[in-house]
Symmetry: C2
Amino acid sequence: MTMAQKNVLKYIILGLLAHRELAGYDIKKLFEEELGDFWYSNHSQIYPELRHMEDDGLISSRTELVGKKLEKKFYQITKSGQQLLSAWMHEPLSQPVPTRDDFTMKLYLLDSAADPLTRQLFQEEIARHEEKYQYLQARWQLLFADEEARQKHFGHRCILQQAILREKQRLDWLRQELKNLPVQQ
Amino acid sequence: MTMAQKNVLKYIILGLLAHRELAGYDIKKLFEEELGDFWYSNHSQIYPELRHMEDDGLISSRTELVGKKLEKKFYQITKSGQQLLSAWMHEPLSQPVPTRDDFTMKLYLLDSAADPLTRQLFQEEIARHEEKYQYLQARWQLLFADEEARQKHFGHRCILQQAILREKQRLDWLRQELKNLPVQQ
DNA sequence: TTTGGCATGTAAGCCGTTACATGATTTA
DNA sequence: TAAATCATGTAACGGCTTACATGCCAAA
């Protein structure tokens, strides 16, 4: 009954192509550079998916020459693709999935707060999220420092801001818990 | 290089068995009732994994009769299993994976805050997280209402508390953003 | 001219979901 | 006695990762 993750990559690609035409490599780059914190797919998944979508008539393509021999294949969304994208955008959100986060699971499996591993685990998790927090803030500065940019790219601003807040909240909680751990000698 | 999620289920099972012996069905129940927000596996994955782990000598088993015919197979962790579990617990945490959350992706793909879909999306996401927030708080009341219980089950208390805070923070942010959306007529 | 990035592809395997399947036991 | 739950299993399939593979182009 749940349905869960039914080829979401397809809709992501449609959504990206709805803004402008892109080649497979461009999509790969978007995942690596701009979207990586929220969605990622390998090129080995992207290229076959694109051809499959073209077979289904959701997208069309044209080939452009880069240099003298290298061909770059740009894809455009079709009417049919736009309809499918719109249908997905209007579909109810799927149920939240388990976090499957290894820190969380290791923490759960610990017997007591006094276990030396506990402190180590918290410290490691803090370092991991501190790094991410810094990285996300740097991206915010880079992308949305000025008011003008904040007006454009509404969706992008939104999700980046939410990600930053999430990291901050998690760091606060982690540091609080670490402080309350029993001291070992 | 990344390694990421290398059969974590195996270690979860080892961690659970480190506390007490369990049958496959018990593990399934734990995922459904106690752990479902953080980890979940279907029984069709659990049972083959258990037999595989027994073949590898990580766990052993004994069979108990329920009623007159029904056999229940209890598994215990072995020395070898304890060693592997400990090694995993000491392993560095894996890198955070992309959220792959459909709300986040839909939001990113929206062109502007003025799109009627935006408001609808926020409202739906709020409802989704409100429900989860209520559910998690009910679980907290049920499990950790009294001080005594809070001392035991350290790990469980920790991750439940963090999950509640996470939902709360997300709800606050969602409501704030919704308030700031341009009004439509 | 060499190195790194551009550009696209195939294939194996793992993890997880869904569905199919069977039968016993307990509870209402 | 019927329905719900206990208890365990197999099989098909899809999504994602990893590895293998090829060749062109731009910049140092």
